[in-house]
Symmetry: C2
Subunit: 159 residues, 2 copies
C-alpha cells in the first residue's frame, strides 16, 4: 500500500503531481477543471489530512472564491465523482486521492493521534467482503473501508 503521509516526503510534489494528473484526466475525458475545482483540490492536497467542507469553504471565502456551502460541496462532488478526492465517511471529511487516475477501491488508515490519513489500494475482487457478498448473492457497487488507529510514529510516542 502507499503509506505516504505517514512518512517524510517531498510534499510539494504531491501537490504538483496531483493537480497535473487531475488536469490530464479532465482533458482526456472532457471534464472541466475550473478555478474553484482546481483550488479545492489544491487545498486538499496541501496536507495529508481530511478537511471538512466548511474548512475548505473558509479558505475559498478568504480568497474571494465563493462564500456559500454549495460552492464547496459542488466542487467536492465533482472531485469525488471523478476519483480526484474521497470522502471519509467516518469523519464526514474529505481527502485528496493519492493515486489519481488509478483504479479505485480505496481503503483508508486514519491516525487518531496526528489525524493523518493514508490511502491504500486493495484489489476489490480478492477481498473477503467480496466473497461474503457473493455467497449471499449481493452485488457490491461501492465499498467503504476505513480503519482508525495509531500510526507507527504516534504509537511509539504514546508508549
Amino acid at each position: 500500500m502507499s503509506a505516504i503521509g505517514f512518512h517524510p516526503h517531498n510534499h510539494d510534489s504531491c501537490i504538483q503531481t496531483g493537480v497535473s494528473a487531475a488536469a490530464e484526466t479532465c482533458a482526456a475525458e472532457g471534464l472541466q477543471l475550473t478555478d474553484v475545482r482546481r483550488r479545492v483540490l489544491e487545498i486538499l492536497l496541501e496536507k495529508h489530512h481530511a478537511l471538512g467542507a466548511y474548512d475548505i469553504l473558509e479558505v475559498l471565502r478568504s480568497e474571494g472564491m465563493g462564500s456559500q456551502p454549495p460552492v464547496a460541496y459542488r466542487a467536492l462532488d465533482f472531485l469525488t465523482k471523478h476519483g480526484f478526492a474521497h470522502k471519509i465517511e467516518r469523519l464526514n471529511k474529505f481527502v485528496a486521492c493519492s493515486d489519481i487516475g488509478g483504479d479505485h477501491t480505496p481503503a483508508f488508515l486514519i491516525c487518531t493521534g496526528c489525524d493523518l490519513v493514508a490511502e491504500a489500494h486493495l484489489d476489490a475482487s480478492t477481498g473477503r467482503l467480496t466473497k461474503a457478498a457473493e455467497a449471499v448473492g449481493f452485488t457490491i457497487e461501492r465499498a467503504v473501508l476505513e480503519a482508525e488507529g495509531l500510526c507507527q510514529t504516534c504509537r511509539e510516542a504514546a508508549a
Copy 2:
C-alpha cells in the same frame, strides 16, 4: 456470514433473542439496560433497516419517553459502545447488532434497492486491510467496512 435480513425468517425471534442477549450481557457486566435503552434497542430490532437518530426519537416521543435529541443519542451511544447496535457511517444511521455478545469486527451489506442492511462478521486478523496496516506499522483500533449494492432479490427484480 449471516445474511439474515435478505431472507425470510421468523422476525419475532430476532427481537426476543436480541433483547434477552443484551439483558444477559448487561447483567453479566454490571450495565444498566434502562427503559429508554431497551426501547431503543427494540425499535432498532424491529426491522433489518438502518434508522436515523431522529427516526428513533420520533418513536420515543410518541410514547412519552423523552423528546429531545440527547435522549436518543445517549441511548444509541450506550448501545453502540457495548456492541448492541452499530452505526452505519455511510448512512449516518443505526442498526441493531445481529450477533449480540459475539466478537466484533462487523461488516455491512447495504442494499440500495430495499434498504435492508445485513451484518457479516469477518475475522479481523486475516484481512488484507489488517495486513496492509501491519506493513506500515499502523495499529487498527476500529474499522468501518460497509458495502453498498443490490441484494439478490433486488437485483433480480431490476433485471
